[in-house]
Subunit: 351 residues, 2 copies
Amino acid sequence: MHLNIAVLEGDGIGPEVVAQSIKCLRSVEETFGHSFTFQKGLIGASAIKQTGSPLPKETLKLCKSTDATLFGALGLPEFDNNPKAKVWPEQGLLKLRKKLGLFANIRPVKVFPSLVKQSPLSKAQVKDTDLVIFRELSGGIYYGEKTFDEEKNIATDICSYSESEISRITHLAFKSARSRKKKVTLVDKANVLETSRLWRRVVTQISESYPDVELNYQLIDNAAVQMVLNPAQFDVILTDNMFGDILSDQGSVIAGSIGLLPSASVGLEHAMFEPIHGSYPDAAGKNIANPVASILSMAMLLQHFKMNEESDAVVAAVLKSFSKKIVTPDILGSSKYGTNYVGDFIADNIM
Amino acid sequence: MHLNIAVLEGDGIGPEVVAQSIKCLRSVEETFGHSFTFQKGLIGASAIKQTGSPLPKETLKLCKSTDATLFGALGLPEFDNNPKAKVWPEQGLLKLRKKLGLFANIRPVKVFPSLVKQSPLSKAQVKDTDLVIFRELSGGIYYGEKTFDEEKNIATDICSYSESEISRITHLAFKSARSRKKKVTLVDKANVLETSRLWRRVVTQISESYPDVELNYQLIDNAAVQMVLNPAQFDVILTDNMFGDILSDQGSVIAGSIGLLPSASVGLEHAMFEPIHGSYPDAAGKNIANPVASILSMAMLLQHFKMNEESDAVVAAVLKSFSKKIVTPDILGSSKYGTNYVGDFIADNIM
Ligand SMILES: CC(C)[C@H](C(=O)O)[C@@H](O)C(=O)O
Ligand SMILES: CC(C)[C@H](C(=O)O)[C@@H](O)C(=O)O
């Protein structure tokens, strides 16, 4: 198979971790006889520095014309805590998600048996965790109109959801549940928000077409507690953009390191694969960043194109790195293996 | 001192836990020579059933005319999952907070040494946790206009904050930090929300009047991770209504049980004291609910009226119940002590 892949390295540790994924894709090419081409584009802080824009037109064009996008991470401290800034790196990612129509961000949270001890939670709590979060990615308060009234000093964000925005991701979530443990948990704040009440109505109605899948509801405040106390209760979590952002980062605690969790952002025409971690600027260039989240995101890319055997081979190589303890320091505090070494090991073991 | 206290028991376990607080207040009266009078009012599901309204006029009048309000819990399953309902219990609490001008909800999260083992987190992680969350309580997306467009099937919630809404709670938070570890962490989503950017501007500016207090910033997705990984890093957390709701419930995991955490909701003229737990209808009437969150909320009431010695005596009695293991089953799974017995023990030990 031939794939043309847009590569957006972004900022901080982005370039280093993406480099490991590309290394692994080269290994997949060789082992399975595929051919991948890579084209780089600018995004985030580095794009602002070079072009003034966090998402240059060429980058958007590139992502639209390629088969899929591999994304690293974005953000730099000099742009944070500057609330008067007119442009900032995150705008690039938000705009890209919207322009590519990526309405569903799929975030699996699994506890790898050989890493159970890494979790700050007890083994009994986390050991059977295998859940996937379907986070709505192109609506809600992230994209509603934002205003600031300078005279009155009042800022406003609007959170809006339409039935169709809710229904398209709901179908994806239920279809996924069908091939899993057949349970969907809708997370919202229906006792306060009008949008949450629309989510409940739409999801409840759609659930009737999936009689084999159980639907239940959790309020976000309770879900944040359950995610720590008893994550194994979940199968598919369906939620909006903001709640999904919070819950899925929290899920990383279960897995033992935020450096492990991948995600796929999908739409009708495009797909992008991105680790859930940030750009971790303090670690940039130090060869200590964990490349696993990026590599597992790349495995989700392969799966997206039905290269299941290839995707499984990548995951198997990652698992081997865990069991051989070829891991970066975030996993075993004392580990001396660097980003590159771990990337090489995983690439060499794709077979 | 004489205090006239409004008592809103609410639903589920509300009446049982509040009864223990009143028992303890009787004990405080006796030991310290005060006089308290209690007047009950309806709220929540029981108010809807008896009057059609989740906050009858008489209840609001009562809370306005008394010195303080002791609140139990509210909500019943028959009102949940009915997204078409026109009234529901939670509206009573939201309206009451607004009408009483309770703009700051203060939620301390402490790990009690004798209960460290209760936390699902490791001892090393939680042992030095002693933080307090200042959650803005009468603004934000909770109170912005809510609309539903039936034709287009679009629901909308508006999140708005004015400078003055932010500044009044910010001053409270910084004053509190002054008497504590001198650190304020502002939690927001400034890389996405306009309201968060206003929070950063206003809080940063106000922080200049408190040069002895350190201010730092965390994004909500990261804060949700840090709350589990390393809660001891926090002193005072300052945040908006929605993020405060999520973070503080999450904080309950650290303490070992949501049945332990109290809160005070304060404004310029009124104050209300409420456990952070919900109405837990499955436990209602079974004499198993943990009364400690309600009793500690009552201790915050005493402190609010500068009865520090009295408040300390209540807390000491609670700590004694922990060390003697006179606790409800949520604390020690095998405990056979009921709500009433624990309440009696604590009341008897206020000295
Ligand atoms: C960088 C930021 C805008 C982004 C988000 O909130 O969506 C990130 O936290 C994520 O979860 O992908
Ligand atoms: C009952 C509900 C409306 C309330 C809230 O979200 O404020 C509760 O969760 C709380 O935290 O006091």
